[in-house]
């Protein structure tokens, strides 16, 4: 824009050049994406559904390379890159690692906004709408075919379904989970309970929790979250287990202020205040219950199998000490997982290279993450029931290899595997709904005189408002 008061002079020109240089250098610090246009990266004449030409030169930045602290996983990653490069010598894989979780929501949303996510970026199943709102991912429907991903037809359609919008595919899964009841076997045995038969109803959970808490010494029978939206997340899981929902089928109204909602809240309130089986410390969030159960201070909580990996690898617990049963109620269970998407604006060759890598690393039985003999040799966990997104023969083949190479007693997860519960996706506006439901959870767990009817009614009104604001 030009105006009479701004006339470029030598001084202002020099200042402008300096400013541009400085801003450029600052911007360079803040971006991690690479826009590779070398070689034929700018486009391919071959049909987009054809596999990548091995001679094509492409550089891919990819999220979630294991950090140096995870030496064995990092070694496996490097081995996989080497193996991949045998077939595609001109594809340069540039891994990006983060010390903690592969996706930290705050960093992730900022990256999306700044369009600085890697070419192949890691997301949770629930992120799709957020990514699309920010124009962040490529539609890869045409690139993902049985030719480029041979196991495509064996992937659970429900899992692929959550990565689709309006029939278009935006991601490829790397892992999935369904929730169940995680137990500490040592505490079960000490309390005279059978760890091979975890509770399957809330009445049984309550009875078992009382017995475990009776061991004293600061041990809790059952644990629950009530902060940072994780309380609402678990309230939803408990509702699903009992066959109820938190949001109506059309996604427009709250559906938890009913007898089931009251049952879930009342049960927790009674366990906390009448039975004193949930410990005094509340307002817990993800990570807190894992620490308690890993240090033999907690008997049970709702969890996904990958929590066990975290507890063993990060908290030094033993696989032998844990087992899982289906979610109490067993009508439905909350499912989720993670996947990779490809940055919007990537060239066709880059997308093809990304699909080829994801196929090799995450979607091929016997290779990459499913190379269980190597995982065993590297002393990493083998035998957890998930990831488990294959179906049919591919699933059977993978489970056989998993069992053969198991590094933990897989029979501990038999009650969970033998009683599969249908998975159910998270509600619309999940995080905002969870935030409201955190108040119900924190209310019943921190207030002896909690008015459950009032808590549910207030939350219902707030969730209705959240849903009306869509």
């Amino acid at each position: 824009m030009r105006s009479s008061w701004f006339r470029p002079t030598r001084r202002t020109s020099a200042a402008a050049v300096a400013a541009v240089l400085t801003l450029t250098s600052l911007a360079a610090c803040g971006t991690s994406s690479s826009d590779d246009n070398s070689g034929s990266g700018g486009g391919s004449k071959a049909g987009i559904s054809a596999p990548l030409d091995p001679k094509t030169k492409v550089t891919l930045t990819i999220d979630c390379m294991p950090p140096a602290a995870k030496a064995a996983e990092l070694r496996e990653w490097k081995e996989d890159v080497k193996e991949f490069n045998k077939k595609y010598p001109n594809v340069t894989i540039s891994g990006k690692s983060t010390p903690g979780q592969c996706e930290e929501p705050a960093r992730f949303t900022a990256q999306l906004k700044a369009k600085s996510q890697p070419d192949v970026f890691y997301t949770y199943f629930t992120d799709l709408q957020q990514v699309l709102d920010n124009n962040g991912a490529e539609d890869i429907s045409a690139y993902v075919t049985p030719k480029t991903v041979p196991a495509l037809n064996s992937i659970d359609p429900n899992v692929l379904g959550v990565l689709k919008k309006d029939g278009k595919l935006y991601g490829l899964p790397t892992s999935n989970y369904t929730m169940g009841l995680l137990i500490n076997r040592k505490l079960f045995e000490r309390a005279g309970l059978d760890p091979d038969k975890p509770p399957t109803t809330w009445e049984e959970v309550r009875t078992a929790a009382k017995k475990i808490a009776g061991l004293g010494n600061g041990i809790s029978g059952y644990g629950e979250y009530s902060a940072e939206n994780t309380g609402g997340w678990h309230f939803t899981a408990a509702m699903y287990g009992l066959g109820a929902d938190v949001v109506s089928a059309d996604g427009k109204k709250a559906a938890f202020n009913d007898a089931t909602g009251k049952q879930v809240a009342q049960q927790l309130h009674d366990m906390r205040w009448k039975d004193d089986s949930m410990g005094k410390t509340q307002l817990l969030k993800w990570g807190d219950l894992q620490k308690q159960i890993a240090s033999d201070k907690l008997g049970m909580f709702l969890a996904a199998p990958d929590d066990i990996t975290y507890m063993v690898q990060q908290l030094g617990a033993d696989y032998e000490n844990f087992g899982m049963g289906p979610i109490p109620g067993g009508k439905a269970t909350l499912f989720g997982g993670n996947d990779y998407m490809i940055k919007k604006g990537s060239s066709p060759d880059k997308i093809k290279a990304a699909v080829a890598w994801l196929n090799f690393k995450n979607l091929t039985p016997g290779k990459g993450q499913f190379q269980w003999d190597r995982t065993k040799a590297d002393k990493l966990p083998v035998g957890l029931p998930q990831p488990n997104f294959f179906t049919g023969d591919t699933k059977a083949e993978d489970l056989a290899s998993r069992t053969e190479n198991a590094t933990m007693p897989v029979e501990n997860f038999k009650p969970f595997l033998d009683n599969p519960v249908p998975g159910k996706a998270e509600p619309p506006k999940a995080q905002e709904v969870y935030k409201v439901l955190d108040n119900v959870m924190s209310g019943v767990l921190t207030n002896r005189n909690a008015d459950i009817d009032k808590l549910l009614a207030t939350a219902e009104q707030q969730v209705n408002q959240v849903l009306a604001n869509q």
């Binding site: 709102d133 962040g136 969030k285 905002e432 955190d438 108040n439 924190s442 921190t446 207030n447």
Partner: protein, 315 residues
Amino acid sequence: MSAPTLSKSSPASARAPHHLPERRGSLARAVKRNLSAHGFLIGAVLCFSFFSWYPMVREFFLAFQKNKDGRTTWAGWSNLSYVFNDPAFWQAWRNTLLFTGLALVLGFAVPFLVAVLLNEFRHGQGYLRMLVYLPVMLPPVASVLLFKYFYDPGYGLFNRILGIFGIPDQQWLQSTSTAMISVVIAATWMNMGGATLIYLAALQGIPGELYEAAELDGAGLWRKIWHVTIPQTRLILSLMFLMQIIATMQVFTEPFLLTNGAGPEGSTMTVVYLIYQYAFNFNNYGGAAALGLVLLVLLAGFSAVYVRLSRPQED
């Protein structure tokens, strides 16, 4: 401003080329004279522009925009109306005002009283000053974790101490009635060192004769405080009062870390935490920016008063 006066005695000015006209190019001369200073200034201005001012301008526009399916569109007042219609909005403001009120009672008064007491000590004042300032040197997260342990209803230090006197366990951070005051106590402890030193500096600037005169008139400690200390430190007290309001209305770290976000039934959810929630948990940048704007307007009012008060007094 004061350049002509300075130029007379400045050696740099003495070396300035004489052929420059008297009025024209004075900016060029000033820049040339303090080249390195201006160099540093440009760096600072660029940093401020990029990291502070640009985000503020961007936030203003963001407050009236929406992202949907990859498109950014103008949203008019809808973000503001969303924010005002969110039931959490009023709860967050109530909590923030409660925090500010309690922080003014505790966080404003306690450091002043500690400064007054410190000022009364004839010996070991340096040692005591260090003791009071020590908590400020701890990283906030370490202090918060320390208090989290103290407050824990199961194994916390505070309940253990109360137990010695036969007082039953308290819920501290885990009850809607005590959570906020517990946060304020922790925040006051963490931040009082800095405020105490400022008050102490102000107190030590009060001429000793005033106290001597008061003592001759038979004034005790409280009368000296009331009739000498407070009037003499009125300006700094007013400034600190406003600074305290501005700072406490932006509180985030302490309630976020001590109560894992919003606390029992959302009783410690502050406005800034709600902004954080909108942006990073709900990906609602428009809502976050709109709420930020509301907070900005309010704090700008307080800041204007602060700037007015901090102007040098005309004699």
